[in-house]
Amino acid sequence: MNRELIKANLNLHAVLKNLEDLVVYDSETAAFVENWNVSIQFIIWNGPRAYCVFERGVCTVCRGRHKHPSVILLFISPKHFNRMMNGKGHPILLKGFTRLGFLKTEFTRITERLEFYLKPTDELLTDDSYLDLNTRMTLTTAAFAVREIALLDPVGKLAASRIRNGSVNFKILPDGPCVHMRFQDGDVEPGKGEAEKPMALMSMKNARAANDFLNGRTDNFAAIASGDIMVRGQIPMLESVALILDRIPRYL
């Protein structure tokens, strides 16, 4: 599996997923997209597909094909898509020519906003509201990236092959957010919120501890022992998920 393809899968299914929270938790974006009514299909030649729908202030990002998208964006390769995600390339518009202006200005504005929240600086992280949203998005990216890495990356596949069936919850205390990953016979289904009857839990003491942990700025074993990170249940599942998460920086 080539690196660009794995990266495209991560960008499409894990990074873009954060648009859903951006329109909810970033007041500037929320106000901006309030009246949008558009569905955008992303097609990557020899690569994955996904779409996002903006409707009445809500954004939904899904895998696969939308039945009647108002806009279709084509990328001639995974690399082409990854370049766009890095702000260095433009898609080919296959459908929705009347929306060209929208894509160039409005949609670009929210993707820039997404980038703002996903690429923190030490200074930005001192702001609690920024920290909260960055942490929430990092958590979502992690959960949805686990599926892609577990299915596509050779080392990720190996780590995933040792994970027993059942769900794993990652939760930031005291009140969330929470994500889960459901492992079933080699498949992985990530989701937001808590899975019922998880086989393993990882709870992070607060957003700061979670942010440090998710961005690899903490000594994980020390964090677990000191109570910043709390683990319970089938710890080998968490260990394997951690091995998969370790692979993300190789691509993103």
Binding site: A200, A222, A225
Partner: protein, 415 residues
């Protein structure tokens, strides 16, 4: 009887200091990370004697981990300590080897039927790696068959693939098969005809976070037969079980004869030593493979090992730890049943693995082990326990009381 719950203020303070200067604070198998919940466990011990240890906060624990296996006669056994002290005072780490090394080798050769020679090192992982080198040197073949999920130390070949620092190439010549599956071994041997140097396995399967499994009837005999037929060196990693099931080697307990046996843990009752013992046919190759370590010739641990083995033989240590383990776990099973819990005991009674089966996620079991530890019985939820000959009837009865109180606390705990 209401029991005082341990507090760990000093343990946590010490750990905080440790995280600044030691990776992970405490690394490796003593890392608190798998101790769940971590706030139920002490991290630092101050002293130990017999079946117990005391932590830096002054809490006292009946210890069912025995330092993860080395302690079989109890902490600070008088005879063992005296032998070590005497040797330390005479000579331990010296420019020349010491006679106690020869005495210990002679003792092991007399004690263990398959042993015609002994080689000493410090840790189990030293001798498992050495055993594989011998198998390769002796056969001229490169592949090793091992059991999926088995523990043989921390060398890259022994770690699970995909772990940090472990490369794909580290696993290139290792074939992993399921435990208790002689047919799979036969298949792998046939598919890799003439390429397999050795088969390494523990006497029975004792992974972490999972029930332990004894060998099926005829399993080891079939493995031995295939190894003999195909010229494969049969290696038993007896590091954890050694001297607990049978002083002559756990293979004698299960009725088979390996070519090499890796020993450590209980051998020195806490003094750092390991040994590889083997058959005459591998003695010459063992002398040709260069393998050594700075402290491998230290004489005091060898003197301690002599004293440990002599004492174990004198008192029939394996019988004592087996009976004590059986008594302890039978009682715990009964107590758990009284609360509606099914406590499953697997493995050998002298090093049992326990798990409350009512909750597949293990959270309930982790909570129970944590509650017991806070009350003074150090229970580990992810690893098999170890019983020593120093565990008394009084210890066991006190442990039952603690286990009962802990279950009561769990029952009363809000969901």
């Amino acid at each position: 009887m209401k029991q005082k719950l341990c507090q760990y203020t000093k343990s946590r303070e010490t750990f905080k200091r440790a995280t600044k200067v030691i990776p992970g604070g405490i690394y490796g198998h003593l890392s608190p990370a798998p101790l769940v919940p971590s706030n139920a466990y002490p991290f630092y011990a101050l002293r130990a004697r017999g079946s117990r240890f005391w932590d830096v906060d002054g809490n006292e624990f009946i210890d069912y981990m025995c330092a993860y296996g080395p302690i079989i006669l109890g902490y600070h056994h008088d005879k063992v300590d005296a032998a070590a002290r005497q040797q330390y005072e005479a000579a331990s780490c010296v420019t020349a080897a010491t006679p106690v090394m020869v005495e210990l080798a002679e003792y092991l050769v007399d004690l263990i039927p398959i042993a015609d020679w002994a080689f000493f090192a410090k840790n189990g992982g030293d001798v498992t790696s050495f055993a594989l080198m011998l198998a390769r040197a002796a056969t001229g073949r490169k592949k090793i068959v091992m059991i999926e999920g088995a523990y043989h130390g921390v060398a890259p070949w022994a770690q699970a693939p995909a772990h940090p620092g472990v490369m794909d190439d580290d696993h290139k010549n290792y074939l992993r098969i399921g435990w208790n599956d002689a047919a799979q071994f036969e298949r792998v041997v046939s598919e890799n005809a003439g390429e397999i140097a050795g088969f390494i396995a523990t006497p029975y399967h004792h992974p972490v976070f999972a029930d332990n499994e004894l060998p099926r009837d005829g399993y080891w005999q079939k493995i031995e037969e295939l190894c003999r037929k195909r010229g494969i060196v049969l290696i038993v990693d007896d590091v954890r079980c050694g001297f607990r099931l049978d002083l002559r080697g756990s293979n004698e307990y299960f009725g088979f004869k390996p070519d090499l046996i890796c020993l450590s843990k209980a051998m020195g009752n806490g003094y750092p030593i390991s040994a590889l013992v083997g058959t005459e046919s591998l003695k010459s190759v063992a002398s040709r493979v260069f393998f050594t370590g700075t402290y491998w010739f230290s004489a005091a641990p060898m003197a301690a090992a002599m004293a440990t083995l002599e004492e174990l033989k004198r008192i029939n240590g394996p019988r004592i730890v087996c009976e004590a383990g059986k008594k302890l776990t039978d009682g715990l099973v009964q107590i758990a049943r009284g609360y509606g819990y099914d406590l499953k005991v697997s493995g050998h009674p002298s090093m049992p693995y326990l798990r409350i089966t009512n909750d597949e996620s293990m959270m309930l079991h982790q909570d129970w082990c944590g509650e017991c530890t806070k009350r003074g019985a150090y229970f580990c939820s992810h690893h098999n326990w170890f019983i020593s000959t120093a565990h008394t009837e009084i210890d066991i009865e006190k442990t039952w009381d603690i286990a009962d109180n802990a279950l009561k606390a769990l029952k009363n705990k809000p969901a």
